[in-house]
């Protein structure tokens, strides 16, 4: 690392979400453009000062440079990120190092688009390894998508550890209370535990209010050096330790359904930051069971005790450990790969004191997680975490 890493660290200069909607006539690229425009406006940085891009959109060969050209960027550094739901956050890690290495000065990271319709997944005959796995070993059985994968995980957790539907339901109902204070959340109607328990079964034991709702929209963040960010007068958000893991227990004949790759990176993530010092957690939440697994594997509670932890902890914005203060993806919606940045945007707002009615009292340190893809009979393929702070990290 260069000296400038210390004297002029890489920060989050801007973060923004487009308006989310269930349906839209806009194309993927129109959403990405809008997300980037809003994030740059939030950063107070001009488009012509951007010289790096991380684009989180379905990967098409030889696409990165053309995408930059398409959006009118003369860039020094461009990449597409293809790490499932974790794409934009892992993309942030790449961008940070690129800026530190001097390859770029201002990088916009963006993900989002219109809704993905599933039959289009099978368009490619030669296919990626993911396509091969699905085509030959999963889809012929009439697999029900991520709802089924998490259904298998959740049933196993309930059987092995006595986790209850009510414990998991508290995740959905608490996040919904947060969403009621977030104007950009799509699901803002009151949700009681009774509503949750009685909601339609989708892939038992997964029910309707366990499932993230797909939507249209885009989310973007701008990374640059502190010195550049400060010129705009906006408060930068600092980046602490980060770590990612790809492929957990891949060599196991019978991988543990209930353990995620976070167990491999938690020591690194919390080497310089104590969990007790965190003012909030913003965790990628496509399902309540995903929140539970993250809390266990990140070391906030013992393995198997996640249900009990959820039951005993007040993780609302009024409680001791606020989680997903904006409502999480579960109540906000999942705008394609832009969903991975929703926890980042909420962290930025909280640290800047811009979270309005849901603002926590002077938070200084937070944690953001990201997860992507679910593997054949194991668990998450990509797990990533990042400490963010209001003040510069030592």
């Amino acid at each position: 690392m260069t000296d400038a890493t210390v004297t002029d660290p890489v920060v989050i200069a801007g973060a923004a979400e487009t308006k989310f909607a269930r349906n839209s006539e806009l194309m993927d690229l129109e959403f990405l453009a809008e997300g980037m425009r809003l994030a740059l406006a939030d950063a107070g940085i001009g488009k012509d000062d951007v010289n790096g891009l991380v684009l989180c959109a379905p990967v098409i060969p030889d696409d990165s440079s053309y995408m930059a050209e398409h959006f009118g960027f003369g860039a020094n550094w461009v990449m597409k990120a293809d790490y499932g739901g974790a794409s934009p956050v892992v993309g942030m890690f790449r961008a940070r190092r690129a800026i530190e290495a001097g390859e770029a000065d201002v990088v916009v990271i963006v993900g989002g688009g219109n809704r993905l319709e599933f039959p289009e997944r099978q368009h490619d005959v030669t296919g990626s390894p993911l396509d091969y796995m699905n085509r030959s070993w999963v889809l012929p059985y009439g697999y029900g998508g991520p709802n089924s994968s998490f259904g298998l995980v959740q049933r196993r957790h309930m059987a092995e550890h006595g986790t209850t539907i009510e414990q998991l339901g508290k995740v959905s109902t608490t996040f919904r209370r947060h969403a009621q204070l977030n104007e950009n959340a799509l699901l803002r109607d009151p949700l009681t535990l009774e509503d949750y328990v009685n909601s339609e079964l989708i892939s038992d034991p997964i029910r309707k209010y366990d499932c993230v709702m797909r939507c249209t929209g885009a989310v973007a963040v701008v990374l640059t050096r502190e010195s550049i960010a400060k010129k705009s007068g906006r408060q930068p958000v600092y980046l602490g330790d980060s770590a990612e893991h790809h492929g957990h227990q891949v060599q196991e004949g019978s991988p543990d359904r209930l353990e995620t790759g976070f167990v491999n990176i938690r020591d690194k993530l919390f080497a310089n930051t104590a969990r007790e010092d965190l003012d909030f957690l913003q965790l990628y939440d496509d399902y309540p069971i995903a929140i539970l697994l993250q809390l266990e594997d990140l070391g906030f509670c013992e393995k198997g005790k996640g249900g009990q932890f959820l039951e005993e902890t007040d993780f609302s914005i009024w409680g001791e450990l606020p989680i997903n203060t904006g409502g999480g993806l579960l109540s906000i919606g999942q705008p394609r790969l832009g969903g991975g940045l929703i926890p980042v945007v909420e962290a930025v707002r909280q640290l800047r004191g811009e979270a309005g009615a849901r603002q926590l009292k002077d938070p200084k340190l937070g944690f953001v997680s990201s997860i992507g893809l679910i593997d054949y009979l194991s668990n998450l393929v990509v797990t990533a975490g990042l400490i963010v702070g209001k003040e510069r990290f030592k």
Binding site: F118, P119, Q122, Y132, M133, N134, R135, S136, W137, V138, L139, P140, Y141, G142, Y143, G144, G145, N147, S148, G151, L152, V153, R155, R156, A159, E200, L201, I202, S203, D204, P205, I206, V250, Q251, G253, S254, P255, R257, Y376, L377
Partner: protein, 135 residues
């Protein structure tokens, strides 16, 4: 709408050939002895291309299961709801499958004993399904 069907490739042809004879098999690495499923282009432990198709007992237990009520895979709308099985084979491998006879779904539980039972699909391949058996 046609159901998705497996397309055999160079590294998994042995599995489908044995399946046609009613035999469940998995890749056994000839260099490091690693046993793996689903089939991969090389050994996941040592990257060796050298493999044998080990015949498995076909006996297993239910590791987990889910009832699919909203299948998103085309061609399965008329079959829903149905049970999707996460199967633990006696040899220590897991695979995704289904009950051959959906009437066995009633009262199904984790730990129930299973036996493999193949079923031929439209493109001629034999797909492993499972039948609940008495312990």
């Amino acid at each position: 709408m046609t159901k998705p069907m497996p397309t055999p490739v160079h590294w998994d042809r042995g599995f489908w050939n044995l399946a046609a004879q009613g035999i469940l098999s998995a890749q056994r690495c000839q260099d490091c002895n690693h046993l793996q499923h689903y089939p991969r282009p090389a050994c996941g432990k040592c990257l060796s291309p050298s493999r044998l198709w080990e015949h498995l007992s076909g006996l297993a237990t239910v590791y987990s299961f889910t009832v699919v009520r909203r299948p998103f895979t085309p061609g399965f709308d008329d079959q829903s709801p149905f049970v999707l099985l996460d199967v633990l084979l006696d040899e220590g491998l897991r695979l995704l499958s289904r009950l051959k006879d959906e009437s066995q779904a009633e009262g199904l539980g984790i730990g129930d004993r299973l036996r493999v039972s193949f079923q031929q699909i439209e493109n001629g391949l034999h797909l492993p399904y499972f039948t609940k058996v008495n312990a």
